[in-house]
């Protein structure tokens, strides 16, 4: 049975390269999602009634569409809408994952910001801070700690969703596995290795994030 895994060992180069693409895809999309989510979350809490409603609607719309459909639409549909001839699959993957995770993060940020008592904002303003200083220095640091557990969940989810980029031919790990399976017709060693690999990566990341949270949790207590 172990001989079967020879096929994986022989192709470690291909898989390793594809894993790098998976890392790039996740780093880029998570960065985009964090930026987007933070802006939208702040907009919902401090932007007034209309920003609250409009952003809320945008968030609900994106939440209601499967990530696979968002991804396929972004890759095939968006360039047609924009009149672009060339649209890199990697870029489409980053945009789709970033938008999808971003709206979930927006809700996490909103909840985190809303959990910081309004007295904190008043105190910062009374000390002469500007509004943006108060958010950056007083509100966000406290909210950030409370946001960590749901953010970790989202981050892990982003890693799992990133395999869907294989459907728009982003040459990430699952895409490489499918390529290898197509060439060799040996699904067992290939998909099993991938399963174990994703399991280990995700468990290690999830545990590390848990630990990091426990270390700072006390400072985020209300």
């Amino acid at each position: 049975m172990l001989d079967a895994f020879e096929i994986v060992r022989k192709n470690l180069g291909l898989l390793g390269h594809a894993f790098l693409v998976t890392i790039e895809l996740n780093v880029a999309s998570i960065a985009l999602a964090l930026a987007l989510g933070t802006l939208m979350g702040i907009g919902r809490v401090y932007g007034g009634r209309w920003a609250y409603r409009v952003l809320g609607f945008v968030i609900d719309v994106v939440r209601s569409i499967p990530i696979l459909v968002i991804m396929v639409w972004t890759f095939f549909g968006l360039p047609l809408l924009l009149g672009l001839r060339v649209f890199p699959a990697f870029l489409a993957g980053v945009l789709a994952l970033g938008l999808h995770s971003g709206v979930y993060i927006a809700e996490i940020v909103r909840g985190g910001l809303a959990s910081v008592r309004t007295g904190q904002m008043h105190a910062a303003l009374a000390l002469g801070m500007s509004w943006s200083q108060a958010i950056r220095r007083i509100i966000l640091p406290q909210a950030a700690i409370r946001m960590m557990p749901p953010l970790s969940t989202r981050l892990v989810r982003n890693i799992k969703d990133s395999v869907l980029a294989s459907t728009i031919a982003v040459q990430e790990l699952f895409w490489a596995a499918n390529l290898l399976e197509g060439e060799t017709a040996k699904p067992f060693p290939i998909y099993t290795t991938l399963m174990v690999f994703y399991f280990l990566v995700i468990v290690v990341i999830a545990r590390a994030l848990d630990r990091a949270y426990l270390r700072v949790a006390a400072r985020g207590a209300a």
Partner: protein
């Protein structure tokens, strides 16, 4: 540039796929609820080795990508174990295992959050263990896990779209097939996204409403 007739014509073409999507959701959810309850109870009350195995099983399904799980079931089961599964059965089985793993974690937390005194009170009134669980603990736990379960339902509805990659003719599959027939990519894919939106949006709102209504304040 956006060809409206092609857009409108997409919806009837998706109807048969929509039925498969709904069928899959309606089939998977009840099975997953039962399996999740069994898993949660095993983890909470079963003897040590059994509880450990259940935990490992849940972690396995939670910590790997769903698409990979579906591929594994569909391709490896026949090639390695000689179990030839029709695509629909394979993906339904995969979705049940995946969804039940997430639900069981939620159930476990919900059941554990009901104070042990409730069970004791039930027992002291002369109830049996199972009576105390099903009549006293479970109803209270259920109202706590309901919102999460509702949002899992919405998740499941969306995640059935992954079965299109294994040629199960669901909503997404029909749209992608239609796209290769008429090359009206933007119209077809937009209609697809809109179909999911119209169907999932009320469900998501309902689950939000449950969250607000069931918020625990102790």
């Amino acid at each position: 540039m956006f060809f409206w007739p092609a857009f409108w014509d997409t919806f009837p073409a998706l109807a048969s796929g929509l039925l498969v999507t709904i069928e899959l959701t309606l089939l998977v959810m009840p099975c997953a609820l039962v399996l999740a309850l069994v898993l949660a109870l095993t983890r909470l009350y079963a003897p040590h080795p059994l509880a450990r195995i259940a935990t490992g099983w849940v972690e396995l399904w939670r910590a790997t990508p769903l698409l990979l799980q579906l591929y594994w079931l569909y391709y490896v089961m026949p090639s390695e174990f000689g179990i030839l599964l029709p695509a629909f059965t394979a993906v339904a089985f995969g979705l049940i295992c995946n969804v039940s793993a997430f639900l069981s974690e939620n159930f476990r937390a919900g059941i554990a959050s009901i104070r042990v005194g409730q069970r004791h009170a039930g027992l002291s009134l002369g109830m049996s263990e199972s009576q105390a669980f099903f009549r006293v603990v479970m109803p209270q736990a259920w109202s706590r896990v309901l919102p999460e379960t509702a949002s899992m339902w919405v998740e499941l509805f969306k995640e059935t779209s992954l079965v299109s990659t294994l040629a199960v003719a669901d909503l997404t599959y029909r749209a992608l097939a239609l796209r290769t027939e008429n090359y009206r990519t933007l119209e077809v894919l937009t209609a697809l996204a809109l179909t999911y939106l119209v169907l999932a949006y009320p469900q998501a709102k309902l689950s939000d409403w449950l969250y607000r209504r069931q918020r625990v304040t102790e």
